[in-house]
Symmetry: C2
Subunit: 292 residues, 2 copies
């Protein structure tokens, strides 16, 4: 699994660099976009898109531009999240955050530019993808990353800081803030591959479950993790009085929910031949075991 | 002219409200988007799009969603421009700016949400617009509002504050920061109307010239304007040592350039029957005479 992820990650980064290389002026925006995108991320979202294409034995070229678009959107969301008015983080993955490196006004515009450019990239026609399909996909990108998706989750998360939050609200935050882009990646793969309705729902359910599992694991790592590995102060959620799975259910029960969620993810894919979804099942296990 | 603009403005605002009414949750994002869009703007961009449709005797419904998308993008750019890290403005058109009203983190997300939602609206299919055409239009929206357009101009404008700027750079700023969305509006109208290549270039040239004229007039008003009318401190460009047309050419010469630019705008449309472009010519005159 680790090797598969490394291989795909390097494929994704080659694509990202190609799009970033086209940007020259204004220098600070072009450089800042490059810095923010090439920051050592795991590229889980674009990789998921490619995994779905592979499940259908499709040419990966079909998803190149859209995989890049999703990663641009993910990157912009991190740049804006890190701003002083939001999370006020100075470092991300051991490197200065974009506003610390380029200035705050610049980081706002770099984020805006990444978001806008994601749509620019997404409109570039790809052989084998009809315009109808592309419009549907672009609509989904906008839906899942805006007020109906990621930004919605982000806003409710901010509002909830330092307050006790209901389980319902916690689910809304997880489902939208991190869940929607993961779901988006899988759904775009399914649209490009012309999945049947049944397959589409199965993949969607897989994505929802691994998105949730990813988040529960994050909450657990915040308590049990190792500073060296996760690269942030362990227990920071507790300090911020953040409502998390462990704060609602306790640590042991949270681990049970995590395992159950991963089982649900795997079960969602039962309609596919087992050997075809091996990598999806491995990814689920990997999420459960990851230490950073 | 004034009456025509008022009438079209109210048509545009009905459309904008309809899109805004669909947004409910998170409340602060939905309300903030509404507040930022319905802020008393002149709606010049969407009106230009509609003017082109009228020139071709097209149904205005054809451009409804795209007119709204452009205004959402214009609104997001104002919300982010006003932020403390950028222009740090507390008021816009006599009302509190979005971050003053809702908070800074909120304003960043409200702006992000407006930008994202513009693309969501743009993808909503309109009868009579093919998917191919829509993809072309969405690509143009992203191109003209991102690093290759508005954001590019905005960044260079910020970098240039308090410095002497070459005429070349001033032209780049004007062309991109304000010019590109004006050009975008006209070009979308031309694409929707299936303008010939010659007509397309003529309309494009008209848009470039009135965009530039609008900006030169702004520079002149900053010196000659009346505080009551333009709603900002007269002479603020001078104080900020901003390079403007008057600072390079002097006031009299700037007025000459303004008139010349408006003449160029009108001349661009000579290929159309005169009675069909009456309103375009009137708009050019109106820009020259406007006092706010």
């Amino acid at each position: 699994m680790r090797r598969y992820l490394e291989e795909k990650k390097s494929y994704v980064e080659t694509i990202l660099k190609r799009y970033l290389d086209e940007l020259k002026y204004p220098e600070v925006i072009a450089e800042g976009m490059r810095y923010s995108v090439l920051n050592g991320g795991k590229r889980i979202r674009p990789i998921l898109l490619l995994m779905v294409l592979e499940l259908y034995d499709k040419d990966l070229n079909l998803g190149k531009s859209l995989a890049a678009a999703i990663e641009f959107i993910h990157s912009y969301s991190l740049v804006h999240d890190d701003l002083p008015a939001l999370d006020n983080d100075d470092y991300r993955r051991g490197k200065l955050t974009t506003h610390k490196k380029y200035g705050e006004a610049e980081a706002i515009l770099i984020g805006d530019s990444l978001l806008t450019h994601a749509f620019f990239i997404a409109t570039k026609s790809v052989e084998g993808v009809s315009s109808e399909k592309l419009i549907k996909i672009i609509s989904l990108i906008a839906e899942y990353s805006g007020i109906f998706g990621m930004i919605g989750g982000q806003m409710v998360d901010i509002e909830s800081e330092g307050r006790e939050v209901s389980y319902e609200k916690l689910k809304y935050i997880h489902k939208n803030k991190t869940g929607k882009l993961i779901k988006l990646s899988v759904e775009i793969g399914a649209i490009l591959s012309e999945a049947t309705d049944e397959e589409y729902s199965s993949l969607q359910s897989y994505a929802e479950n691994i998105g949730l599992a990813f988040q529960i694991k994050d909450d657990i790592l915040d308590i049990e993790g190792d500073f060296e590995r996760i690269g942030k102060v362990v227990g920071s959620d507790l300090e911020l009085k953040k409502t998390t799975y462990p704060s609602i259910f306790g640590l042991e029960k949270s681990k049970e929910i995590l395992n159950q969620t991963l089982e649900d993810a795997k079960r969602s894919l039962r309609i596919f031949p087992k050997e075809k979804v091996k990598i999806f099942n491995e990814l689920a296990d990997y999420i459960g075991m990851r230490e950073n």
